[in-house]
């Protein structure tokens, strides 16, 4: 029973997360690319409820802060938070234009719930929009990589012989590849400006090319032992086809490994974008993604002074944990079925 509630909670959390990211345009108060050059590295705004005794949402605007992390609030005028306000134009789900936002305040105050980055851009908006690309890329990349790895690993482990040798040799080749050079070559072969969708696809493709070898070897190992189980031999004696054997007996065995790997790889791949941007293969400015927002954290001064810029890391961890726990639950439920 407790498992059922836990599963439901996880699924709700996951759906909530994805919806928030999907509807970034609506939930985010501002355009993620708008720079507020007067307010770089501004800490999160303080939301007040108490104004001379009355209880209401009231954030205050703060005076210009250009240092790290000092919150100066201009107490001269309170700016109440309104719901369903009109603001910057955005595209909802890429389909229709709108300028409705979940919440906001009147100009010239700005409601930076998660502070701003080095250009004064709203971190919350960037987080939500960034999640679109990063989550999609991370999930897709993990999916493609694992699919490739699973197929190759299964074929390799199941058929054995020279197929196994050839496939595992090529896996080893990929593992030994100096992938930094590979990234340089990919960047050099591409046109300088790659459209947003192309760069997204590129991210996934590069990650999959570099990443398939490891899961393939893992799965091959499992398939090797699963193949020689007695019940498999028995089934084969009964005339079962390869495909049937694979689906019925081998696949369930590797599912556990696949799920574990999936939950491991997604955060790795999102963070891998940091390295890819170094070579110019990541999502480029000013478009936000959790990867390029994380690369700012490589600077020590930012680490020390601007804790709100950890938001993408926290979001990534939370997402990964939810996926991980969900994968776990799925594994349990599969076992008991």
């Amino acid at each position: 029973m407790r498992r059922k509630i836990q599963t439901r909670l996880l699924i709700v959390a996951l759906i909530g997360l994805h919806l928030a990211v999907l509807f970034a345009g609506f939930i985010a108060p501002y355009n993620p690319e708008t720079q507020n050059r007067e307010l770089p590295y501004a800490p999160p705004v303080r939301v007040h409820f108490n104004y001379s005794g009355k209880v209401h949402f009231r954030p205050f605007i703060y005076a210009e802060t250009t240092g790290q992390g000092t919150l100066d609030e201009d107490f001269s005028r309170p700016y109440p938070v309104h719901w369903f306000v009109r603001g910057d134009d955005h595209q909802l789900l890429g389909l229709f234009n709108s300028n409705l936002h979940l919440f906001g305040v009147d100009a010239p105050a700005q409601m930076f719930l998660l502070g701003t980055d080095s250009f004064g851009r709203d971190e919350l908006s960037r987080l939500l929009y960034g999640g679109q690309i990063s989550l999609a890329a991370g999930l897709l990349a993990a999916f493609v990589t694992l699919l490739a790895g699973a197929i190759i690993g299964t074929i390799s482990g199941y058929y054995g012989n020279w197929i196994d040798e050839a496939l595992m040799a090529s896996a080893e080749l990929f593992l030994a590849l100096p992938w930094l050079y590979f990234l340089l070559v990919v960047r050099a072969l591409l046109p300088l400006h790659v459209s947003a969708t192309m760069s997204f696809m590129l991210l996934i493709a590069v990650i999959a090319v570099i990443g398939w070898a490891r899961p393939a070897r893992l799965i091959r190992g499992v398939v090797l032992s699963a193949r020689t189980r007695d019940y498999v031999s028995a089934a084969r004696g009964f005339g079962a086809s390869d495909f049937y054997l694979l689906r019925r007996h081998v696949l369930p065995q590797i599912l556990g490994v696949l799920l574990t790997q999936a939950a491991l790889l997604v955060p790795q791949y999102v963070a891998a974008e940091v390295t890819l941007s170094f070579f110019g293969l990541g999502v480029s400015e000013p478009t936000p993604s959790w990867g390029n927002m994380l690369s700012v954290l490589q600077q020590y001064s930012v680490l020390r002074s601007c804790s709100w810029l950890f938001a993408p890391a926290v979001a990534l961890v939370i997402t990964s944990v939810i996926y991980w726990l969900l994968a776990d639950t799925i594994r349990y439920s599969l076992k008991s079925s």
């Binding site: 080749l173 491991l264 890391a313």
Partner: protein
């Protein structure tokens, strides 16, 4: 014997393949070693051309590869353009430092991971307690863990950061020197263990869980066989399968897996050397490093395959059933 010969041939082919790829990729990748001299207005193009010619950087890649191959067969892996020293000796010292770190970390990781994995797999209660910590550690990207520990170490000043020995440590007694190295190795080892432990433990745990739910285990329990015996005789050998591949991975990555940690903590291993060589296009160092990684990887996979054979005698790779 046949098997060994096949593996050896395969290894040789792989080494040739890796070196070919390295040369090919380096040719396709833009930029050359002396390119950054172009930014210096005081250096003429003539000089850069001379330097390029001296190191043969203008020659066709096939020619350079052929020469390198021939020399490599004799054990001469070329010179580093940057250091003007033979690649082999350059890699040798650094590889030693890296191995010191990775072997320590690997031993520690596996010594901790196996019991953790088995215990959390078999005991539901323990599993719940560690679930949060383990899922957090898995979800946090490597680079974040590394940097976080680094910042903590710097702040608390508990552990020295960077290098393998303190300045002037060569004047200390052997005991003091060992202690010095241990202090220095603590931080990068801790990072590597934190990164690697949860993954291995999780894999072991999940396969232990799978096995425990199998009918024959329940039968064994029903027959009254004690849990310890079940664990060691029935569960572990089967659950060992993915763990063995992982162990192979650990071995395979002995030389290459610690690059990030070495660069971040300043450990004087292969990582920073190869990284800088790649970025500055010091070709022979990069190829040498790739060869070294390949050797370890082949070795690691070989050991893993052997262990697979040993642990699960039903597997006979290449045999028909």
């Amino acid at each position: 014997m046949n098997y060994l010969l096949r593996r050896f041939l395969r290894a040789l082919l792989l080494m040739i393949g890796v070196s070919t790829l390295c040369f090919l990729l380096s040719e396709l990748a833009p930029g050359t070693y002396f390119e950054d001299l172009r930014l210096n207005p005081q250096i003429s193009q003539q000089t850069i051309a001379t330097l390029n010619a001296r190191y043969g950087l203008e020659q066709p890649i096939a020619l350079r590869y052929g020469r390198w191959l021939e020399a490599a067969a004799r054990g001469d892996f070329g010179y580093s353009i940057a250091y003007s020293t033979p690649v082999a000796s350059l890699l040798w010292t650094r590889a030693g430092n890296t191995l010191l770190l990775t072997i320590t970390a690997m031993l520690l990781t596996w010594i901790l991971a196996v019991p953790v994995g088995v215990l959390t797999g078999s005991s539901r209660r323990l599993d719940k307690i560690t679930a949060v910590a383990s899922s957090l550690l898995i979800s946090i990207p490597e680079i974040v863990i590394a940097v976080a520990l680094l910042v903590v170490a710097v702040h608390t000043r508990m552990l020295p950061v960077g290098a393998m020995q303190s300045l002037g440590s060569e004047d200390l007694s052997t005991l003091a020197r060992v202690k010095d190295i241990l202090l220095h190795i603590a931080l990068p080892t801790a990072i590597l263990v934190l990164i690697g432990l949860p993954i291995i433990a999780q894999h072991i745990r999940s396969s232990v869980v799978e096995v425990l739910e199998a009918p024959y285990i329940r039968a064994a329990r029903g027959l009254g066989i004690g849990p310890v015996r079940i664990l060691f005789r029935h569960v572990l050998p089967v659950a060992a399968n993915p763990a063995i591949s992982l162990f192979g991975f650990s071995l395979a990555a002995l030389v290459s897996g610690s690059l990030l940690v070495e660069v971040i903590t300043g450990w004087p291993g292969l990582g920073p050397l190869i990284l800088e060589a790649t970025l500055s296009r010091d070709l022979f160092v990069v190829v040498g490093g790739a060869m070294l990684s390949a050797v370890f990887m082949i070795g690691g996979n070989f050991v893993a395959d052997l262990l697979l054979l040993v642990s699960d005698p039903r597997i006979r790779t290449g045999a028909q059933d």
